[in-house]
Each structure stands twice: as C-alpha cells, then as structure tokens.
Symmetry: C2
Subunit: 447 residues, 2 copies
C-alpha cells in the first residue's frame, strides 16, 4: 500500500487540486454541475456504474461497484458542495487554488469534504491496483447541497432508498484528528429544526410617542421568546424535554474515554464559564445529549446610528433547535405552536426554514468496530470514539429508515478550519487517510 501511495501521491494531489478548483458553492449555485460531473467521471474511471440523478436542487451522484457477491456492502456518503469562500480578504492564498504551504494543503472545501471523498476514491484505486478487486461492494451517495441543509435528500431517499436499503453499514463524510493526534470517529448526529418567528403589529411603523396605546411587535417577540427558554438555560416549551432520551451505558463508557479540553474551549471563546455552569465530562455530556434552542438572529425597527424614535410594526427572530432523539422537526414545530398559542401568542407566525431528524448512533456495530480497529492499525494510536456528534447532517433519511449502522472518519485535524478562511488539511493526513479507507474497506469486507 505505502509503495503505491508513494509513487502516485503527486497525481493524487493533482486530482485533489482539480476537484478543489471547482467552486461548487451550493449557497451561490456555482460550479455544481461541473463538480457532479467531475465526481461521476472519476467514479466511472474506477469501474463504477454511475448515475447523476436530478433532484429539485443539486444532482446526487449515485454509484455502485465492487463484487456483486461480496459478503458485505458499504454505503458511503459524501458531498461535493462547499461553503462560500467569503470573507475573501482573510485568505492567504486563493480559496479555489489548492495551495501547499508548510506541509499543509489549503483550499475551500478541502477538509469539508473534498479530500475525504477523494481519499476514498483513491483507496478504491489502491485496492484495485494492489488486490485486483474490491473486498466489498460499495454504494456511493455524493450530494451537492450538504452545506445548505440537504433539502432534497429526504425525498431522494424515499424515491431511491431501495437501492441501498440492504447495506450493512455506512461510512459518513468526514472526521478529524484531535490535538493529541488521535483519529476521532463517531456514529450518530443531532437533528435540527430551524424556524423564523414573525410578529406583525400595527400596519406601519409609528412614532414612539404613541407607545402608550399602540402595540409594539418587538416587545411581543421578546415576551414570546422569553417563554421559550429561561435565564437558567432551560427550554420551557411544554412537553419538549419529555422527548429527550438519556445516553445508554455503552455510550457513557465511550464518553468517559474522550479527553475533552473544556478550558481551551472557554478560553477560545473568551468566557469564564459554560452555560448552566457545566464543565469537564458534564459539559461533554450536555453537549452531545441535550437539545438546544438558539436565537440565531433578531431584527426589528431601527438599528442605524444614533436615535430614531420609532415604534416598530414588525419583528423577526431566527430560532435554531438542535435535536436529540426522540425530538423531530415536526414534533418541535407542533409543540412550539401549541406552546405559543396557549400563552396568547397565536398571532406569531412560525415559518419552518429547515429540519433534519437526529440519527441515533449505533455504538455496538460491525461498522464501528471495523473502523476503530482500522484507525488503531493505520495510525498506531488508539482512536477516540464519539457515540454522537453535536453537528447535524442528513444521516437520518439515508440510514435510519433502513437500519444501517453508521461510522464517520476523515482526513481533517482539529485546526482544519472547516467553514473558515484558510481551510486546510495536512498532506500526511491525506496520504494516511487513503490507507485508512483501504484498510477499513478490507476489514469491514471481511468482518
């Protein structure tokens, strides 16, 4: 393996550069078809049967290859879209030119998650070159709207899910090494429910001297919000917390293995204490097993320079709930509506902007065991396993209806700066990532 990777590494990096040169920013609709075609062609070159399947938005590249009679089938989820590159002025090299600097490879989307995707394609090439054929059957779902919340993927899974329903496991898109150099793996993700609350008061803004008599949309928004979460950080929506499932024993055992540097996180954020005063393992447990309710935005009236004595006619808030099992976007919408109605806020409109179900992690599964063993073998360092990620992705629609256990790993590290300017990976992590994927394919195929 090492020999092959060594002889091919310049071409591997050239291919990564070619993929990163496509500015496939889903939010801006650029380079989407080009990236989909590039990925489809690369898969076809590896002998896969490939389809570029239209959805309402960016197409999904669906592909299969490997022996039809293989003992095991692995579903692989990745995405070819990336975050916008702004703010451009903070980049030290052009974001869509893969730039090698100090042993690192810089580009928008290289860590999230073009290098992950390509490391798996290169692992397939490696296995085909060195073993003659793949040790398992692979199915690929490579979408182009992950960075905007995968709006089409639930429908896609409903339409095409029978193609991969009997997969034995799923490899999720990305992962990183922590500050101690340990590969970090995970299974399970939080869901999300994202709403805009809209308050309409008087029909046009008025002069603030009329506040004796005219209702103020901004005040109504404040009052409604203050019933949703209280100053002790308790979410107060009637019935909401009843749907939160506590972690199981196996999950708690893995949790205890994670060294969680909570002091470093506080320092990086310039705060003295976490909310609710938690720290250490309690903080980690809260982070993974508690839902959130976040005001992402507030807007009302006049916020320019100085004084404007206006009584606002409308007020808006964006509200993001991170969901743990058994909370779902539909349930949260329903509970929030009933909660506001019950408190006299029936006039406040709730607009659903995004929703993803949480995905339960399958801690005790072959796919997790094979990935952990592979990581130990390839890196020589015991990996860390997170029984759940605090982040959100379309894991639920692709795997949960079919009971496919999932594991995630990738080629980033803790300073990769996904979504930030100067996003990068380490070159050596990339090469090791190819070996990791090949080793995992082999281990899971034989399991």
């Amino acid at each position: 393996m090492h020999a092959y990777i060594e002889t091919q590494q310049d071409r591997f990096i050239d291919e990564l550069a070619a993929l990163c040169a496509i500015p496939s920013v889903a939010a801006e609709g650029q380079g989407i078809d080009e990236a989909a075609q590039w990925v489809a062609a690369r898969l076809a070159a590896l002998g896969a049967t490939v389809e570029v399947i239209p959805t309402g938005g960016s197409p999904v590249v669906y592909a299969e290859h490997g022996p039809a009679d293989a003992a095991r089938t692995l579903l692989i989820y990745n995405h070819y879209d990336v975050q916008p590159a702004t703010p451009l002025e903070l980049w030290e090299s052009p974001p869509f030119t893969l730039t090698r600097r100090d042993g690192n490879l810089h580009a928008r989307g290289v860590a999230d998650n073009k290098a992950n995707l390509l490391s798996r394609l290169h692992a397939v090439e490696l296995l085909q070159a060195t073993q003659g054929q793949l040790p398992l059957r692979l199915r690929w779902i490579i979408e182009g709207e992950e960075e905007i919340g995968s709006p089409g993927l639930t429908t896609f899974a409903e339409q095409y899910g029978s193609r991969w329903a009997d997969s034995d496991g799923c490899l999720w898109e990305a992962g990183y090494k922590d500050a101690q150099g340990r590969m970090t793996l995970y299974s399970g993700m939080k869901g999300i429910a994202y709403f805009e609350l809209r308050v309409r008061g008087i029909c046009l803004d008025s002069h603030s001297s009329n506040a004796t008599l005219l209702p103020n949309a901004a005040w109504r928004l404040v009052w409604a919000l203050s019933t949703i979460k209280d100053a002790s950080e308790q979410i107060c929506i009637d019935g909401f917390m009843d749907h939160v499932v506590a972690p199981g024993e196996a999950e708690l055992r893995y949790l205890a293995e994670i060294s969680y540097d909570d002091e470093a996180i506080r320092e990086a954020n310039g705060i003295e204490a976490f909310v609710a005063g938690v720290s250490g393992q309690a903080a980690l447990r809260r982070h993974l097993y508690q839902p959130t309710c976040t005001i992402c935005g507030l807007e009302s009236g006049y916020m320019g320079e100085g004084v404007k004595t206006v009584l606002p006619s409308s007020a808006l808030a964006k509200l993001d709930f991170r969901l743990v099992p058994d909370l779902t976007p539909e349930l949260v919408h329903e509970l929030l509506r009933a909660h506001l109605d019950r408190r006299g806020f029936g006039d406040i409109e709730i607009v659903r902007l995004a929703g993803e179900h949480p995905a339960v992690g399958q801690v005790e599964s072959e796919v997790v065991r094979a990935a952990l063993a592979s990581a130990q073998h390839v890196t020589g360092i015991e990996p860390v396993f997170w029984p759940r990620m605090a982040a959100t992705g379309p894991m639920y629609p692709l795997t949960a209806p079919f009971g496919i256990p999932t594991v995630g790993f990738g080629v980033g590290y803790h300073l990769s700066g996904t979504h930030a300017p100067n996003e990068h990976i380490r070159l050596l992590d990339y090469l090791e990532g190819i070996e990791m994927a090949a080793t995992f394919f082999t281990a899971f195929g034989a399991a």
Copy 2:
C-alpha cells in the same frame, strides 16, 4: 388687520417659499447656516437686535424687540431645521420648492415649523404696520437642531438663560387644527430617555451546535428586556412607577373637553384594541399621563435570507422611554442600571443616546388664557386645550428653570403630515395664523 394681510399675502407666501427653499436638514447638516442667517436677517429687518450664537452644533438665533418698558415679555421658541425629505419618491412635488396645490402649500418643514415661525414674524410686521409698535416685548430663541433632539439647548440655556429668565410666558413652536376645525393648544410636554443596550457574549460568533455550552448574547438581551416591561404592558423597573405624578383636577377638566377619536386611531393602525385594553378618555389619559418604554430596534446575529446556524456574540436594542413628571433621563438611567445589576445583568452596557426632561404644563396661567381667548376670537370656534403633549421637545431647559409658563399653537392641521412626504399646510390657516399671533401678542401684552 385683514386688509393688511390681504394686500401683503403674496409677498408673505413668497417669503415662506424662500425659507422653505433652504434644505436645512439637521440630520444631514445641510443649509443650516443659510437658514440661520435668513432668519436673523428677517428679524433684523423687523428692528430686532439679533445674535447668531454658536453652539457645538447648529447656531441659535437669539433676538429681542418691542418696547423695553412693555408690561409683558413673551419668549418665542421655534426652530429653523427640518426633518430629512426621504423617501423622495413619495413626494408629489419637490420637497424644497413650496408648491401650491388645491389651496395647500406643500414643502418639507412647512408645518414643522417654518410656517409657524414666519407667521409670527409676519404678525410682528402686521402689528408694527398697523399699531406703530409692538404691544409687548418679544424674545426669540430659534434653534437648528430640534429634529435631532436639541442636543445643545440645555447648555445654551445654562449659559444664556439670564437673558430671558424674567419672561412672563413662552409661545411654543407649533400646533394644529383638529378634524373638527378647532385650534388645538397645549402646555407641557413629555421628556425622553433613549438608550442603547449592548450585550457582548463570546468573542466571535460561533456555530449554533455549540449552544449547549456557549452563552448567547441574543438570549441574554431577551431575558434582560423581559424584566423591563411585562406582557401586560407594565414597566417593571424597580421604583420607576413611583415617580409618576397623577394629573390634577384642572388638567382632568380640560382632558374631558377633548374629543378623542380613538376608533379612528385604531383603524389607521390596523389594530383591534389599544394596549392594556384602554379606550376613549382612559386612552387619552394613558397617552398623556403614563410613561412608555419602547423597543425602537433589535439587532443580533443573522437576519438575511434563509438559514444561518450562528450563535451570535453580540446583541443590541434601542430603548426609548417617554417621561412624565417626575421622571428624568438621569433618574431612568440610574433605575435601569440598578434594576439590571440586581438581576444579574451587570454585563449589559447601557449607552445613553438622548435625554430630555418632561415639562409640566401650566394649565392655570395668563399665557394659556390669552392664547385660548385669542383662538376663540380669531377662529370663532372654541379651541381645544391639551394640558400636556405626548411629544417631546426642549421645553424643560428653556422654561422650567425660570418658571416660565408655556402655551403652544400653530398653523398646521390634523392632516399636515409632519415628518412625512407631502408635508403641507392650508393657505387659509397660514393667513389666519398671522392674525392669531398678532391677536395673542396684543392680548398677552395687555393681560
């Protein structure tokens, strides 16, 4: 009087056009010196001793004329600055070209308050032409920053107040006729305290998945605001309401004379009910005798299109209190600070952006009696007297320290649209306003 007005009216309107042609928008710093010089020259032409007194901002035109041995001295407050003309596209004629249409005179600032000022200057000319001399001594304070909250006038009054301290009464800047054609007079105004609340949380915006642990500035702002006023519209700042003085008997008698079309106000604002469910006289009493606390603006995080999963590091609110005696801007600042500190919101910064003291109305005073009698005489219709205005102006610093009773009237009407596009007055009200001022000068001079 009528004969003189009739022969001079074309020139009067030409002069009004000349004054309205100066775009003296205080907020934009345009035409300020030009307007001050125009007003000073017009006063000088009437034989006044005039000074253009620099302040930190727009200069104040201070003038005196009339017999030094007159029995009575009247202070007259007006302003030569105007609101911005935006939105320009809604004007049916150029805002700084006085345009006659359907018996009305349209221009930015014509109602607020260039025509009021000029009607008083024309009344002086009228009295000098027909009586030979003024029936009282007049002192003029004509400022240029009323529309931005008169920031320099308290200091101005402290420096120069001795010049007008012994005035017997004060005529305030503006007034209007109501829908029944009754001239509306008033004495006393509300004050204002305008703050910005600033919440800082984490040092940079974070990803909303971190909301399990990182404090959210927007939530802190919501929680702090929700302690300031509750959903029943009660201001809950500790000790705040203790400083609210109930109206006296004389005030309530005048109040009962006001026909207050609360249904029309609700309809114009598209609402079913006023706050706290008040209507009729109770609404009017609340409007004039209760303080307010208004959120004029809210801002935090992301409020663009769609979804951004951000945990905001800062949140801002603009908060406008309308003050009744004995609340002052300083007192409100102090009470709010203590209130927030006591509830654990000591980290929330309170920035004072503007403040004006409320001015107590002198319901039983010669200046009010003379104005009411003059209005009845000139219009032939019994005027309405508001013992207090809900609006705010620099009445307190100019009159209260010297105990000068104040009355206000002017040449606008209920549809003048002050501050709005197509601001206008009726030509006949203007001509009648000259007669009103002259009659009032004579009546108060003889009182």
